[in-house]
Amino acid sequence: MGLEILIVDDEVEFAEAFAERLRLRGFTAHIANSGEQALGIVDQGAVKVMVLDLKMPGMDGLEVLRRVKKSHPEVEVIILSGHGSEMDDAYGRNLGAFAYLRKPADIGDILEAVKRAEKLLASRAV
């Protein structure tokens, strides 16, 4: 059983492909296509790392980040967004995201961030 990762993105195809690639690399990947759905999954308690898109219809990424950090501060959130100014916003407000990556991101960069998060989680568990 690999690290439980939740991919939050309104672009279904992107989420699916990304999830498959993570699964191939031994992670357990879940998909949420909206903010509400994502919060529901996080509430189940299995998710350790969240890869979050910022611009989504309905509840947007910043709101999801804020709520997750409130209810489940142990979950590490990696922001993966295509939009520059919202990325700046998230960074500027210091909402506690673990890393910021820009779409389209190289799988290697994402894996590196995930691995760092995993290490952090492991150190916290000890």
């Binding site: 672009e11 195809e13 520059g84």
Partner: protein, 578 residues
């Protein structure tokens, strides 16, 4: 662009308005005051002359009356016998001469036959026969008589006062000769200015005194204008000479006549007054130019002041309107430039928003493409596909997809950073450090292109407040552009930093191929590039421009084709915190 013609006509109109507005009251006031002043001054002068002549008229009249009355008194006081006694007569002459030195030349008693039977005086005129003399014929008819000036027997100018007395049946005359010189001096006293003089003429226009100045021609025609002399002179003065052109005549009753006549290009003022009950006329004449010399001088001065004033007004009007129009022209130019800048800024802003939208919309599909390609790549690694003969071809193709995806990402990221509205945090930045940093990054590239890099950095450069990453972006872009402009042929890249007033200025000069004029006009436009397709996004310089403008600074270019280009980055030391 406003035409030059517009400013010239503006200058001309302003000048004309100033001149007209200043000249009109000046001319009106000068004319009005000049007219009234001149008129009243002329009247004053004429009045003054009148009074003067009148005073002398009275003086001469009283002189004559006085002398006549003495002779009368003499004739009344003494008998014929006493007066015919020469020693007695001599005695009386001496008394008279003592009282009025030089006036009485001699005394004599003439009988009705015209023979001087008694005489006292310096000349030997005893028994002189006056029976043929005109004066005697006149004198014998009247109680008393004053002759005109004549030469007489003694051949010197003189005139005679005679009083007729009766003794029995015969009449006799007491006669006194009045010296011309003494009489003349009375009139000669009237001498005003250079040409003003007086003289006396009889009714025939013959001179009775010596005029001190040149005579006005044709006295007789003047005399014909007077009421007192008209009768006697009527015959001789009938043809009024055409050479006399009357300018102005005024007559105050029967006492005087005055006016101005034109003669030989001179205007002559004349005043005529009757003497001796109109038998003689006291004539005063003066050149108008002389009489009114004061006013002429005043007129010259006023004219000079007026001319200088007008000249000054014209010059000042020209000067002021040119200066004002210069200012207007400058202001127009500045306004125009401001408008251009506003348009430019607006254009950049709207393009920026558009670019941000496009970038974001493209990022998602590109992300999916890259992800799918990655997924395919992952799948290719599975063993059953390794056998396929085209597996390498697949790999190359997928690699190409992700490579192009990265290229898309680069473009969109540049677009996003160009459009970024929110300011990244400002710090105090040493521009020199930023330049050094960028140069160290570009060192390899410049070495590869045979480019010599020269820096001349002001070590006392003050810190400025800016975002370090933005500044890096600016210098990175400008230095990269300079290296690109020089090309592989090699050249010189010079970077200078200095303080100019309240600004930090960085000059980045290359010896590249320069920028042509039509390229220069669009150099800061987004998406404008001269680089080959795929090499440049056309955003570099517009991003730099935006960043420097945001700092309150300015980015300018000097370039000449074939010689090189210099970019000047101006950043204010104390940026306004907006």
């Amino acid at each position: 662009m406003m035409e030059k013609h517009y400013y010239t006509s503006l200058t001309r109109n302003m000048t004309l308005i100033v001149i007209v507005v200043s000249f009109t009251p000046l001319i009106l006031i000068a004319g009005l005051i000049g007219y009234y002043f001149e008129t009243s001054y002329r009247e004053k002068v004429m009045q003054h002359l009148h009074e003067l002549v009148e005073k002398h008229q009275q003086l001469i009249n009283s002189f004559l009356d006085e002398k006549l009355s003495y002779i009368k008194v003499l004739a009344d006081s003494y008998t014929y016998d006493e007066l015919t006694d020469e020693s007695f007569l001599q005695n009386k002459l001496v008394i008279l001469q003592n009282a009025y030195s030089g006036v009485f030349v001699d005394l004599g008693v003439v009988n009705s036959a015209g023979v001087q039977i008694s005489y006292a005086g310096s000349l030997k005129l005893l028994n002189a026969d006056y029976s043929k003399a005109e004066w005697f014929r006149e004198a014998i008819k009247r109680d008393y008589y004053l002759t005109d000036v004549f030469l007489g027997i003694r051949r010197t100018p003189h005139f005679i006062i005679s009083v007729k007395k009766r003794r029995g049946d015969t009449e006799w005359l007491l006669r006194a000769t009045i010296d011309f010189v003494a009489f003349n001096s009375l009139v000669e006293q009237i001498h005003i200015g250079e040409t003003g003089s007086a003289f006396i003429v009889n009714s025939a226009g013959e001179l009775q005194t010596r005029p001190a100045t040149e005579l006005a021609p044709n006295i007789t025609s003047l005399l014909s204008r007077t009421s007192w002399a008209r009768m006697g002179a009527a015959e001789s003065a009938k043809p009024v000479a055409s050479s006399i052109e009357e300018v102005k005549t005024s007559s105050s009753g029967s006492n005087a006549a005055s006016g101005i006549i034109k003669s030989q290009n001179r205007n002559i003022i004349y005043i005529l007054m009757p003497l001796k009950s109109g038998e003689w006329t006291l004539v005063y004449q003066q050149d108008q130019a002389d009489a009114f010399s004061e006013i002429n001088r005043a007129r010259v001065i006023a004219l000079a002041i007026f001319t200088f004033g007008c000249l000054a007004i014209v010059l000042v009007a020209l000067f002021i309107s040119q200066k004002v129009v210069g200012h207007i022209q400058k202001a127009d130019l500045e306004k125009e430039m401001m408008n251009e800048q506003v348009i430019e800024a607006g254009k950049l802003a709207s393009i920026g928003e558009l670019a941000a939208g496009i970038a974001h919309e493209i990022n998602n599909p590109v992300a999916i493409m890259v992800e799918e390609a990655g997924w395919m790549g992952d799948l290719l690694e599975e063993e059953e596909l390794q056998e396929s003969e085209n597996v390498d071809e697949f790999r190359r193709s997928l690699k190409q997809i992700s490579l192009q995806g990265v290229r898309c990402k680069e473009i969109t990221h540049k677009l996003l950073s160009f459009a970024r509205k929110t300011d990244p945090v400002h710090h105090q930045v040493q521009v020199n450090d930023t330049i050094e940093e960028i140069l160290s990054i570009c060192k390899e590239r410049s070495k590869f292109s045979n480019i010599r890099v020269q820096t001349e950095l002001d070590q006392y450069l003050p810190l400025i407040s800016a975002s370090p990453t933005e500044l890096q972006q600016v210098f990175m872009n400008l230095i990269n552009n300079a290296i690109d402009a020089i090309g592989s042929g090699g050249g010189l890249l010079e970077i200078r930093s200095r303080v100019d007033g309240d600004k930090v200025v960085v000059d980045i000069a290359d010896t590249g191929y320069g920028i042509s004029k039509n390229v220069m006009a669009r150099i800061f436009d987004p998406f404008f590039t001269t680089k080959p397709v795929g090499k440049g996004t056309g955003l570099g310089l517009s991003i730099c421009y935006g960043i420097i403008k945001k700092l309150g600074g300015n980015l300018t270019v000097d370039s000449s084709v074939g010689l090189g280009t210099t970019f000047h980055v101006n950043i204010p030391i104390h940026a306004e915190t907006s």
